[in-house]
Symmetry: D3
Subunit: 290 residues, 6 copies
């Protein structure tokens, strides 16, 4: 008796109504309580769903349609406002369940810190996990003004967890001197400023590996993604980010989970960034869930 939700903007376009029959699960992580500059990404996941109805279900890049992939949209994980520790725990617990059910986790942030518990859960399943990280920022702080859990620390924490050599960052153009130095000393891969070219060099070396991909919307130039907490000039175009997604799809890596974070709708005039995030998500689903 409820009208069909498929094109209502309440679920991601083309999602499947049944969890059990789905290969991948989309979920939101609506948390932004540790951001140091501009909050608002808690509203990101629902906005991505809302504008997804403006998309076609077919990708002319990949010649594939959403109905070719069974994925379930679970909605947003309920998270306790203002409590980062408990929030991270809720996320980690949820992703463990997905992994136990052999679903590919597809997350939507929220601030970047939400990726940490996901990556930890995924790492506990895949021994050989490597991380591909797209971002304007290093996110390699050990803590932020004394707070260990902050939107500036997730990549450092996961690098400490799975070994810095298994983490590959692309498009980085902002960070403290100490962060860049730490990465260098630890053998972590950082591509400053550039994305597609270094990615194409890295992918062949990861052939056959299990990979988690985390994309911070701010890897895009502010012209392409004004609707995020911390914009930083000199980034890449949405065209280059789409090409990067397609390069991963065409490579021999095995994507076992991914997320798209830091869309903050309140800074996004007329949903420009949201529409882009929504298209990126469609391409990731069509390109990476095989």
């Amino acid at each position: 008796m409820r009208f069909d939700e498929t094109y209502s903007g309440k679920v991601f376009i083309g999602s499947h109504p049944n969890y059990d029959e789905s290969k991948a699960v989309l979920y939101g992580m609506p948390m932004d309580w540790t951001v140091s500059y501009r909050p608002g990404s808690r509203f990101g996941p629902n906005k991505i769903r809302e504008v997804s109805i403006g998309l076609e279900e077919y990708s002319p890049y990949l010649d594939r349609e959403l109905e070719d992939v069974r994925f379930f949209d679970a909605g947003d994980i309920p998270l306790p406002f203002g409590n980062p520790e408990k929030s991270l725990l809720e996320i980690e617990t949820y992703v463990h369940t997905l992994l136990k059910d052999d679903k590919i986790p597809m997350g939507m942030g929220g601030e970047h810190l939400v990726s940490l518990p996901v990556m930890k859960a995924v790492a506990s399943k895949y021994d050989d996990l490597a991380i591909l990280h797209f971002d304007a920022h290093t996110d390699l702080r050990e803590n932020y003004e004394g707070e260990e859990y902050s939107h500036s620390t997730p990549i450092r924490k996961i690098a400490d967890h799975i070994g810095p050599a298994n983490v590959y960052s692309f498009g980085i153009r902002s960070g403290m001197k100490e962060e860049f130095e730490w990465a260098k000393e630890q053998g972590m891969h950082i591509s400053k400023f550039e994305v597609l070219e270094p990615l194409k060099e890295v992918l062949p070396t990861l052939e056959g590996r299990n990979i988690y991909v985390t994309i911070d919307m701010d890897v895009l130039d502010p012209a392409h993604a004004p609707g995020t907490g911390t914009v930083d000039a000199g980034g890449i175009t949405s065209r280059e980010l789409l090409a990067s997604i397609h390069a991963i799809a065409a490579s021999g890596v095995n994507v076992v989970g991914f997320d798209l974070v830091e869309l903050a709708p309140v800074y996004d005039h007329s949903d420009q960034t949201a529409n882009t995030a929504s298209k990126l998500m469609r391409e990731m689903i069509l390109g990476w869930v095989k």
Copy 2:
């Protein structure tokens, strides 16, 4: 396996998950194709749901909670873009179903023309129906530049249908000279500029009658409802409109259906008008569904 939708903004807060057990049904009519000035109200219904999570479920005005009323949120009726006739037919058909199932129809617009098929359906069930109409505009044109179905004509059409003497308009401050004259000649009730005082005079005369209430958001002053297609200075406050809703609730009339129309989110900075629409809807549900 889907997270609970109650506080997700995908359904109106406090709505009941089951149609059959519900006394009233909330539905959207996302149509704006006949507006002559600024379109955008097609996105109104979903926005009202989205911001409803900022509301408490309790009304200190009425001392009643949403869990005291069983209502179902059916989502938006799918309507064919750019085809007014077919759209109106779809709406009328749907409301007939609701009425057959003894549900109270609670509609969300969309442009004001969407109220016409609802009122026609309701009138076919209740012989003694009277209409209470809150609006800045007469909406009494016979046609608009030759088009019979236009956002400027719904009140005229329903007045022709059930008899002008059964239609009561409040807060009217804009219209053509001919419209005001027609109303006068036909014995239709129009309260120019004022709302609460004339309503309090009218209500006792309607005691025991079946009533449909249609509220155009633009009856509010632009200060209180900037997010609508045709703002018109000199309107009432949200406080007076709330008091009007409460006056109807406290009167002896029998509300058999109602709607709230013309919220146009794209003109509504930071959801000011949407939040107000959402609170008005809560008060209407709590006050009128008994």
Copy 3:
């Protein structure tokens, strides 16, 4: 061969195409170069025209239609950017022409300083002129940080010119201590905070007098006129301002010219203030041009 401009938004709705046959002339004074806080009112006049197409041509307040009044919309006076002296001179010269042709000048600002040359021109024609001034601000500074011609000085300059006792300010809620004291000493009328009540007391004393009315949009509360350079809380509603216009229309004064100034579209979300300014102008034309 050009499509009819009447409903194009390029001229004020209902304006007459012929200057000679018109009794009154509407013109814009697109200047904002002396404002101390937020500029942008140079775009006010064209915006008022643009949104006027959302208005009905009939006023239910006055039971009169725009076709009952012949007025010509002359467009905006071209003014030299950044040169206040020359700009004021251009305005004064133009208004002298209008007065010579026995047209009622109806101006649209622009910053409030543009009213000064108009009032001076009008005063040169009418010996007994009184000024009705609606504003949040005194505008009684002798100079502003040394600059004699500033948006803070027009009322002082005209009071010095025609005598302070002939100037009546309403709604004033901001100014320097010295300005209020000067007004008191000089016998100038200032109604602090209030508008309609003191206006109703003043009007009978002006019966038969020639009157120029200057309305600064910021006399309205920021809720009713956010789109102006200097908003100031605690103002009146658009409803009270409409009633004030109607009170003047119903009184025995003879309005020989008027203006509406300080609409600054860039601060005006979705044209809320512009739509109000446009309706105010319609009521002034219908109520005052007899």
Copy 4:
């Protein structure tokens, strides 16, 4: 007695006051009633005029000034709200008149469907007509949810009319699988993603042909044209679109008419997209009207 309109923003900058002496005619088609996603392009044409005053009249790209081209700005064709069929008929009739008078039609939308009657009228004059179509979307649907006339169908309708082999689409990055397949089967030219390079390949093959060019603003990346109904990431820069206009100007084709559609000002913060549309129009006039 009216101030000169040349720099008023009421007509396109540099336009000629006389129809008969003009070689080309600029006109608006303010219709958006069939759009499926976000309406608002009805206000596009007037906004392009309004911001054109921020342009210089000289193009350093083409070393030509607007005074070197005589074109008349006719204003907007009055169209019946909510009635697509009648609207298309009005447009077609008007363009037939222009063609009979040997004027080059230069249209401003409005949704893309407005181009269909123009192209049909032009095709009736020029037997060898080819269409150059710049867009993010195929616009090749046979109907949209049953509606034959929709913003998603104009290119299909004209391809059916003049033969698919005479239609060349550039920059396409969105559509249904069926649309791409239909185009392929029918021998219609579609350049996926790319614009300038394939255009440079196509132009020599069209040497001497009569050409109509239709540009949908959304061929630009959302970073360059946020102010349109359906933004789609991965588009081209305004620089590449300018270069494409100049490539056509430098080629041997004969442009017999053109349009620019889908500017929707309400989604356009601070007129960014409008200013770009206005500059594009200047370059098209200077480059193509010889």
Copy 5:
């Protein structure tokens, strides 16, 4: 060598450069990490300072100038992002210092929770303290989804601390049923919906008492304060809030501290709410610091 800051917007207009010579101290509490709906009030204090330069230093309501009151603007207390406990402790410690130095604390929020440590510090100095609380919301939750420190709990916590009978809430129009019941049972004063009239009744009963006043901007109607996290229709005008401030000033109570919270600039188009907050602060300083 630095240009004078007085009119720079970096300090509140009219503030005194010297702490020791000042009677009162203005400070910001830029925290918003526990809000459940829309964050952003961390940027409130600096915005209030920034727009204060649009104010006159003289109040025509109180006939007093800012130079008549010596107050120091200390800037914003640095607070650890995402850590409510530590943040509250920092605030409490700072206010203890102010009180020890016999300064009147004048706070700017931030979310309403920041008032809790201030009120606790003030209560430790004044045994007979009463709280005047202006808000749309009860803020009387014992916890919010398990979190004890939340923007929904400060009034409950302080009522528990100093006794519910010493707390007076005005303008309340939103809350849970349980909160209203708790207040009733505990003998706490709640004025539902109304502000000025009940305040005038309460003030004489508090004559001679030491009073802390906390104003949540959302006590204002959304028309008057759109720029706040949780807008709620049916509130009061800025005019009534100004009159309430003046009523307190004219009464026999002794204001020993106060704050203004919940301005969230990102939701505030063109600084409308910020300008109002800034004027309210000027009136509080001029009216209450004697």
Copy 6:
């Protein structure tokens, strides 16, 4: 007793508190009174400071931190509203003082005309001065509608002053035919459309020369800098402008002063352009102050 200002947004991040110990001085020139199109750049300098707290103090491009450069932020020069002549004189006088004290002047506009007095002052100190000018516009008018001092004239005036052959403009894509012709005749260097490539050709020819650099934000494409008075499509990316700054840093020229002008925050949604301006300024300071 005032909280540390370093991260308050009241001074540029990383600035030094002491003038005497500083090598360079940052100052604002908040003037926009001669602009012909859209005013608002008077608020540019404070906005650049405000958002600078979102920056890291380290540049991964230059491997240098702000603490390695001692620069003082002097605030904004107080300028008389609406009086261009006096304003320019104030600026020139101030910069003479800086130069006498051997400080490198680093200015923030304001409209581009503010650069003229700075360049004149710098030219009086350095005989061999060359100007590098980045802009969409020629700014070579002799006057603008009769006004000699206009935002369209600064480059012409300085070229007349130091000789056209010493002025190098990059990225120019708008101007009158006469301006381009004048530049050509006079031997002034103008790079139409392009920036980085011609700059790399010019820099070696300037080796050892004293250079003043003036950057108009509108040299960036509107996608990268929507927040400016006169946007013009077809510009460069922020990435290319950053690379240009780095190319100058790596060359053998001696930068003796520079400015960044025409940021107009009111047209800048969510501070996109401001954040870019702030990063550009950091790179200029780190790259050019040696």
